[in-house]
């Protein structure tokens, strides 16, 4: 008896396919993953019913050019007629509930099966499915088209249990049906499957995943199989790796291999770990499965405890994922710790390549920091050096908390061979502040630009008194720049002055600079803001008593000359410190130069007059 019925979906199928391809799936190529997933689910279901059952998946490619046909067959549980009606009904329901229902994902096996099958319409104008349920009943055929029409009939012959899906490529999708492409894709999706996936094409057949390694399920075994693990990583992840760390979580339900990237990565780079859920590839770009700091590795992860999103391409961000993520992070950290213990040179190589990532991790984890601190690179007044070398100098490590502060004091500090570390780059000042907590017998101290004076020699009060008049003239001249003068002795002697700026005065400088350039309205707003900044916003101009010019300026105060000289020294210090000058300061510079030329010429004339 043959029964064939022509039906039409009571749904807008093309709209649904639109939604699937535009919102749910990242590319048409996922149809193959969906078919594999359906096959895997079917085999899993049959294995549960018949323990010891050996599943298999066969894929056959026939035809040429733009008219290739693909058949995907599994020997899983199969579908009864009732099952078919159920998944069709599911599709109907989710289409009526609209896009959100589709994207939220069905959780029942049959629902997922149906939606997964629909993805094939992205590459084929017809889907034919033959199926025989392991529970008995007649073999069934379902033929569907993207316009929503389909037929269901019982077959006369009895097939063996399982499901076959036939697709014929549309011209646009032909390349998804090429032997080589399918072969690679099947390997990606099914590399970890515990039963054979066979590809038949052009009269040749071979098992795609014949080399699914045992150590993937027991990452600890990977330690002794270096060459094999690296080769597998290269084939699957497409990079030539040189190092890896096996990962497992406490429950043993998630594990994998973290391959160390052979090149430095940008902090913002998208993470792209490859994750297998219940041994089927679920994501090639899982970002949230490892902690953020783990950007120096690309991982192969397998898990059976996380919940996929509707697109099956990511995981729901929930407590469970957070737990898995932190456990994988711990495992990675432990791997690095073991490396520090047993193969420090391997770790050193890794740190040099991924310093930023290592610093990020060290900030979060004191023990880890203690372990690797010696190899972390820092910029200092002794050049770019590793922290271990800097510590061996046996001094207090001074550090700044911004690039700006470092710039202000670095030449003075260098001249006095003071060791100062630039803490202005990401994580560096935190690491410096934490160092004494993590490592014994080391002192670090934050240096503020206005503290550079520590390494200045003080001028005794009796001597300072001699300069009293000159300093008063200096202060009143510098008043309008909110700057005050101080006499100190420092090296190098040929540096006449040094300008330092506190945090507040730095904000004020920026504010005034903007105010000068801005519209009237905004200038007045900025004006009202600057009144709110504390009067601590004074900068300091240090006058170097070891410098002959300064000596002369200080010992011969002159109501006319001294203020001008001070102003000139002030703008000169700004230039040396690479500060952007405001209008007032630029004017001082221009006028001052002109005045000095004038005086010089006049002095010349006077001397000629005397002759």
């Amino acid at each position: 008896m043959t029964a064939s019925n022509e039906y039409r979906f009571q749904v807008n199928l093309s709209g649904m396919i639109q939604i699937l391809s535009n919102h749910l799936y990242s590319s048409p190529k996922v149809f193959l993953r969906e078919l594999m997933q359906n096959a895997t689910d079917a085999i899993t279901a049959r294995t549960e019913a018949e323990p010891g059952f050996q599943g298999e998946v066969r894929v056959e490619l026939t035809g040429t050019g733009e008219h290739r046909t693909m058949m995907v067959e599994d020997n899983g549980i199969g579908l009864t007629e009732a099952d078919i009606h159920e998944f069709l009904a599911m599709i109907g329901q989710s289409s009526k509930r609209g896009q959100q229902a589709l994207l939220d994902g069905e959780t029942s096996f049959i629902g997922r099966f149906g939606i997964g099958l629909l993805s094939c319409f992205m590459v084929s104008h017809e889907i034919v499915m033959l199926t025989q349920s392991a529970k008995g009943g007649p073999s069934m055929e379902w033929r569907g088209k993207p316009d929503g029409t389909y037929t269901i009939r019982q077959l006369d012959t009895q097939l063996s249990p399982g499901t076959k899906v036939y697709l014929r490529s549309t011209p646009d999708a032909a390349h998804y049906f090429e032997t080589e492409y399918v072969n690679e894709a099947l390997f990606y999706y099914g590399a970890l499957l515990p039963y054979p996936v066979t590809l038949h094409s052009d009269g040749v057949q071979h098992i795609v995943n014949s080399q699914s390694p045992t150590w993937l399920m027991e990452p600890e075994l990977a330690r002794g199989r270096r060459a094999e693990v690296l080769a597998f990583g290269e084939r699957l992840l497409g990079e030539k790796f040189q190092d890896y760390i096996p990962l497992t979580t406490a429950s043993g339900r998630t594990g994998g291999i973290a391959y160390v990237l052979p090149h430095a990565v940008n902090l913002n780079a998208k993470r792209s770990h490859r994750v297998y859920l219940k041994r089927m590839l679920i994501s090639e770009k899982a970002e949230n499965i490892l902690p953020d700091w783990a950007f120096f590795v690309k991982c192969l992860i397998w898990t059976d405890e996380l919940q996929p999103t509707a697109s099956r391409e990511h995981f729901y961000e929930n407590e469970k994922l957070e737990e898995v993520r932190s456990e994988l992070g711990d495992a990675l950290r432990q791997g690095l710790a073991d490396m520090a213990e047993s193969q420090p040179e391997r770790l050193q190589k890794l740190i040099r390549l991924h310093a930023l990532s290592m610093k990020a991790l060290a900030v979060q984890d004191q023990e880890f920091y203690a372990m690797i601190h010696r190899w972390l690179p820092f910029e200092s007044t002794r050049g770019h050096r590793e922290l271990g070398e800097l510590m061996d100098e046996g001094e207090t490590l001074y550090f700044t908390t911004s690039v700006d502060e470092y710039r202000q004091i670095h030449h003075v500090a260098s001249a006095q061979s003071m060791l100062v570390i630039n803490g202005g780059y990401i994580y560096d000042s935190d690491l410096m502040a934490m160092l004494p907590l993590a490592v014994q017998h080391v002192k670090t101290e934050r240096l503020q630009p206005d503290e550079v004076s520590m390494s200045f020699t003080d001028v005794p009060p009796s001597e300072r008194n001699q300069y009293y008049d000159a300093l008063r003239l200096a202060d009143s001249a510098l008043q309008r720049f909110r700057c005050r003068a101080e006499v100190k002795g420092f090296k190098p002697a040929d540096l006449p002055v040094l300008f330092t700026l506190s945090q507040e005065s730095s904000t004020l400088r920026a504010l005034e600079k903007a105010s000068e350039e801005s519209t009237e309205l905004f200038s007045s707003v900025l004006g009202s803001l600057s009144s709110g900044i504390s009067s601590a916003g004074y900068s300091t101009l240090y006058l170097n008593i070891n410098n002959p010019i300064i000596q002369r300026v200080l010992t011969s105060p002159d109501a006319q000359m001294t203020p001008i000289a001070m102003e000139m020294l002030y703008v000169n210090a700004l230039m040396m410190g690479h500060y952007a000058m405001n209008r007032q300061e630029l004017e001082v510079l221009n006028q001052g130069i002109v005045r000095f030329i004038d005086w010089g010429l006049r002095a010349n004339m006077d001397r000629k007059g005397d002759a």
Binding site: G383, A510, E517
Partner: protein, 351 residues
């Protein structure tokens, strides 16, 4: 050894960093290098980035300063720069303006008019003007004016310069919170909580704002769910200090132990925060929480950040609570003076 990185290096480095203080430092350095070398277009580019980064990392003052500079340059040479980007950031500036009590009411209104005039001149919809009028009126505690502007902006057409629907919806929700109509708050929050509206900062903000309204309506289970999820989304982000305050407000009442976790994890962000309003709210809620915790867990020593400017004993929670409360009240006073009402201090009535 090269001690100076050049402009391109700095910008490259900055683009490679995630939003945060380090990135901001790089950008400021780049702006400085551009200024010193008189490279105006580069200086402008760096400041565009500063405005955006600072806005989304909790540095409203830095954003305002950089924007002011940009606007002046733009007015001198409008053909040189892209007005859309600049006008878009004008909205961020207006959104943060009220946090600075030094800026008077009149100035705020003047800026709003300037903003409106500019939007008109570029042919953008007036909706943005009324929407920001709505927001600023709320900031000033002027609820009647806010209500008028609310009706007005909803009647106008959206355009590409309008804020996204999720952000607008969040502000509408805030309006009902201020009015004190919790049922309406829930209604306004629905499309966000259902996940139908979202953007970079929504639902992050919403999940904390909704806690107290839910609490008052006795919907604790739902509130707990949003609290956990909301905190997960914002934890450790400098931009959400006010949201931490809202979380504390709720946890004081329902789960002070969890509140203490949130306080210890976020205090380091709040203490150096550039937005005085967010800091005030955080300190106020911290004070309430510490008083409650002193009753529940006497002898507990609060973990304070190393650089926290408090000389007293961190085990004397009542004293510490006083310290936080005093700071919050002093700030509230300033806002009240500027606003000419008790809108802000009434938010802190329980402190």
């Amino acid at each position: 050894m090269k001690t100076e990185m050049d402009f391109e290096d700095l910008m490259d480095e900055a683009y490679g960093l995630p939003n945060g203080t380090a990135k901001l430092g790089m950008l400021e350095e780049a702006a400085r290098v551009a200024d010193v070398h008189g490279m105006e277009e580069e200086a402008y580019e760096a400041r565009s980035e500063i405005v955006e980064t600072a806005t989304f990392c909790g540095y409203p003052m830095k954003a305002l300063i950089a924007f002011s500079w940009q606007l002046g340059k733009f007015d001198q040479q409008p053909e040189q720069y892209d007005e859309e980007t600049l006008m878009w950031s004008y909205k961020w500036i207006l959104g943060e303006l009220s946090s600075f009590p030094e800026v008077s009411r009149d100035k705020m209104m003047e800026l709003l008019e300037d903003f409106g005039r500019r939007f008109k001149s570029f042919g953008y919809s007036e909706r943005s003007y009324w929407y920001y009028r709505f927001r600023i009126s709320m900031d000033l505690g002027d609820l009647e004016e806010a209500g008028n502007s609310y009706t007005k902006f909803r009647s106008m057409d959206r355009d590409f310069m309008s804020d996204c629907e999720a952000c607008e919806q969040d502000e509408i929700m805030r309006y009902w919170i201020l009015v004190g109509d919790d049922e309406k708050v829930l209604e306004a929050a629905k499309p966000i909580l259902k996940g139908r509206m979202s953007c970079a900062e929504i639902p992050h903000l919403t999940l904390s704002e909704i806690l107290m309204p839910l609490y008052r309506l006795g919907k604790m289970d739902e509130a707990d769910k949003h609290q956990a999820k909301g905190y997960r989304m914002i934890k450790g982000h400098n931009d959400f200090v006010q949201s931490f305050a809202e979380q504390l407000d709720y946890l004081v009442r329902t789960n002070p132990a969890k509140g203490i976790d949130v306080l210890e994890e976020s205090l380091v962000l709040a203490m150096d925060h550039e937005d005085p309003f967010a800091k005030m709210m955080f300190y106020a809620r911290a004070a309430q929480l510490l008083r409650r915790w002193a009753d529940e867990s006497p002898g507990y020593r609060l973990r304070l950040p190393a650089s926290f400017p408090y000389e007293g004993d961190p085990g004397d929670l009542r004293k510490l609570a006083e310290y936080f409360a005093a700071h919050a009240k002093a700030s509230a006073e300033k806002y009240d003076q500027r606003n000419g009402n008790h809108h802000v201090s009434s938010m802190l009535s329980e402190v």
